[in-house]
């Protein structure tokens, strides 16, 4: 018997057919379930690899999710401001969060945006830290998929650091590597 784990490569199809699989419960689940998985996974990863590596893994997973999300749910051919309006709408429809764009500089490709009522941290007690590394990667992934360039996204305000919305700063750092 082959006991080695198969190598997984994410694809959108691997999310399954929710209409088929959850005909009664539907596609939505409580934030509690999301956070339960997120924070226990984070706990295990920190225990296994330390906080820095765990945060990096979360960021990378978020980045992959952001790219797939953009590729499968968003129209990448829209002009930027219409793309932002569409992103805001889809994030709301999917109950991921209320995104609000604050600043856009298309010349330098720098953006500031906030996400309220987000899945990861809204309502957490103030612990003087930012905890949305997954969202940092998620936002970077969306921007990278849309622009074809690489972004560095930093969370500057977070529920867990005492703010009521999460604020992210996105900066262009270069072209995407060729496959």
């Amino acid at each position: 018997m082959n006991t080695s784990q198969p190598t997984r490569t994410f694809s959108w199809e691997s999310l399954g057919d929710l209409q088929l699989g959850r005909p009664n419960l539907g596609p939505m689940a409580p934030v509690l379930a999301y956070r339960l998985m997120q924070f226990t996974l984070w706990d295990v990863l920190i225990g296994e690899f330390g906080p820095e590596k765990a945060n990096d893994l979360f960021r990378r997973a978020g980045n992959l999710a952001g790219k797939e999300f953009c590729h499968n749910l968003l129209d990448k051919n829209l002009p930027f401001s219409e793309f932002v309006a569409q992103l805001q709408k889809v994030l709301k429809e999917q109950r991921i969060g209320l995104m609000r764009m604050e600043r856009v500089d298309l010349e330098t490709m720098q953006f500031t945006l906030t996400v309220a009522e987000d899945l990861d941290c809204s309502g957490l007690p103030c612990t003087d830290e930012v905890v949305c590394q997954y969202d940092e990667g998620f936002i970077a992934g969306i921007l990278e998929e849309y622009t074809g360039k690489v972004f560095h996204v930093t969370e500057t305000d977070c529920w867990a650091s005492g703010a009521r919305v999460c604020r992210f700063s996105a900066k262009l750092i270069g072209d995407a590597p060729r496959d």
Binding site: A85, Q86, R100, D157, C158, A163
Partner: protein, 201 residues
């Protein structure tokens, strides 16, 4: 220390931010901790004050945000975030992007979103009106100028055609129909009826 703390709290309640309490001469560790906590409160109030005053005056773009962990400032930072978002969206709408929508900002969202729908509809209706007017204008311009017309049979001479050739002259009905797509129905006016059919009147 207690008296000094009381005086500084009184200053705070008068709407001013007091100087920090001296912690070096505290009589006990508990007093020192209390002084540190009060100083932290004073710092937070100072940061909130420095942030909210220019915000209340509409200066939103160049504000220095209070640092993270200042929990007292968080509602104001959220307000600032929403104002920044509104400013950006209003700018997009001003450039004709009517895909923008405001989410969950109470009556303001409803008013703003209605305004965008209304602007979009008005602009589309205006564009249709302009197109109709441009079409009408082009038809009018087709009839402008001096028309060479036969004094007797009222045929119109085609533009640039040889006046000596009979096929250079076109009946006025077909000329106007070609230029304006106006159709003619034929009848006789009383004077012509009298002239043509005097025996029957």
């Amino acid at each position: 220390m207690i008296k000094e703390a009381r005086d500084k709290l009184a200053v705070l309640l008068q709407g001013k931010v007091p100087d920090a309490l001296e912690t070096e001469h505290c009589a006990s560790e508990e007093e020192r901790q209390l002084a540190n906590l009060l100083n932290e409160l004073f710092t937070y109030m100072q940061e909130v004050h420095q942030f909210i005053v220019p915000l209340s005056q509409g200066n939103i773009s160049d504000l220095t945000l209070p640092p993270p962990r200042n929990f007292l400032s968080s509602p104001f930072k959220e307000l600032h975030s929403r104002l920044m978002h509104l400013t950006w969206q209003a700018g997009r709408v001003a450039q004709g992007d009517y895909s923008q929508q405001i989410d969950f900002m109470g009556d303001f969202s409803e008013a703003f979103n209605k305004m965008i729908v209304s602007l979009d509809r008005n602009e589309r209706e205006l564009k249709i009106k302009i197109a109709e007017l441009e079409t009408a204008l082009s038809r009018i311009s087709q009839l402008e100028g001096i028309l060479p017309i036969c004094s007797s049979c009222k045929r119109i001479r085609l533009e640039g055609a040889d006046p000596g050739q009979q096929d250079s002259w076109e009946a006025i009905e077909s000329y106007i129909t070609a230029k304006t797509q106006t159709m003619f129905s034929h009848g006789l006016c009383p004077e012509c009826v009298k002239a043509l059919y005097s025996d029957f009147t």
